[in-house]
Subunit: 256 residues, 2 copies
């Protein structure tokens, strides 16, 4: 049965999608069967893999509203053994439509349960909020990976996210664990980066990933070519950091 991991942080632009796409591709390259679920109406995880779901396509929206199963929406990608469950702007409506539905927080968990045995890892790329989409992801997940940009505002939001994870552990998903905080866009020339790293390692001993992702322009160029870093510039520092992260989490999640 797959390990389901939510990649979440309500702070915007911290590297959730870049982490989801590049970690998924790196794990798939090591022969794991990986599913990437795009929980964000912006659809960036899809476009980062070169896939754009047209307006009338069946997407995650239809799965959450009970109008389709995952089978009907799964898409292949350029990376063998990496599949995508796409989203588009239609998903914006789901937050409001789910409010009055029964068991609104467990919809994703139940539909993922039917396909989980086909994969080794399922990554959930979350939107920048703590609404019903992210709550669905935290309820379905075994673990949470928190990308944290080495900036002040990102650090400030961390305690609110940790409180929300505790609330979910107490009421919706008691098996949810914090898999780690991943430091992203680290710039060695910049004092603020070093301060944030020190502060996080101090406050969360043992919970910070050893791998630190450097700021690297090749990572931000790759999505404009619709490719994960591995297929755009595998030798770049940014991509190699995600390859190292894949090895680190494969040990932690006891992947084959």
């Amino acid at each position: 049965r797959a390990r389901i991991v939510a990649v979440a942080n309500q702070k915007g632009g911290v590297g959730k999608t870049t982490t989801s796409v590049n970690l998924a591709a790196s794990l798939a390259a090591q022969k794991n069967r990986v599913l990437l679920v795009d929980m964000d109406p912006q659809g960036n995880a899809g476009s980062g893999l070169g896939f754009f779901a047209p307006a009338e396509a069946r997407t995650l929206y239809h799965v959450l509203l009970g109008q389709a199963g995952f089978d009907e929406i799964l898409q292949p990608t350029e990376v063998e053994s990496l599949q995508l469950a796409p989203s588009n702007t239609h998903l914006t409506g789901a937050e409001i439509e789910l409010v009055s539905e029964m068991a609104r927080e467990t919809r994703l968990k139940r539909s993922l349960g039917r396909i989980a045995d086909r994969f080794d890892v399922i990554l959930l790329d979350c939107p920048p909020s703590l609404g019903l989409l992210t709550l669905n992801a935290l309820t379905a997940a075994d673990g949470v990976l928190i990308p944290l940009q080495c900036e002040y505002y990102a650090l400030e939001g961390l305690s609110h996210l940790l409180k929300t994870i505790e609330l979910v552990q107490g009421s919706l998903n008691e098996r949810l664990t914090l898999d780690g905080v991943l430091l992203t866009m680290f710039d060695a020339r910049n004092n603020l980066s070093h301060q944030v790293v020190e502060e996080v390692r101090q406050h969360m001993p043992g919970k910070v990933c050893e791998t630190v992702i450097p700021r690297n322009v090749r990572l931000s160029e790759a999505p404009s070519h619709g490719k994960p870093g591995l297929l755009y510039d595998a030798s770049s520092r940014g991509v190699q950091a995600y390859v190292a992260l894949a090895a680190e989490v494969a040990r932690q999640w006891s992947l084959p």
Copy 2:
């Protein structure tokens, strides 16, 4: 009567808060009476001005749910003639609680109407989503300023935001205008930055602000001192760009 401007973009981390805080401070420094409303449960606009709303404080949440007026929540800041309407994580609940309320999209517009005559400019710092908080901002506003990071994913989300603005103009607020797209975190050494600038200027002639905000570490350091750039390092390139932006919009909005 104040000009009300929503600073909005559903893409995360594009510089909405940095723009709101520094533009508000620069306009206030030129003797305009400015109100900055924090529409984001993360409360970054507040902390960027050195203000943290305690959990039990009266905030924008209470105003939107009709439990307080703006009078009760306005706070002074270190910048004379700049006031703040703060938020904290309590606001996360408003998105769900407002769904079933009457006239849920016009709550902010009605409560701002009672204090608009005390200010020359009211800036609304929006969260990274197109939910009810941002819809309230777009319904209350005279204009929208769109910060756009010079990156691929940010460019991709622009058409969805423009469509949403059109929908709001057609149903909730016909006077809403697009005041401009502000290019942020521009890095002259990086091809991608130049490509994004060219693409946006081509697609939206006459709608892109002349001022371009460079990537500048002093802008990201200032919030950790609870100060807008003007009070942290006024001579830095980033802060000077916001001073130039203030002059540009003051002409456009015919401020005294």
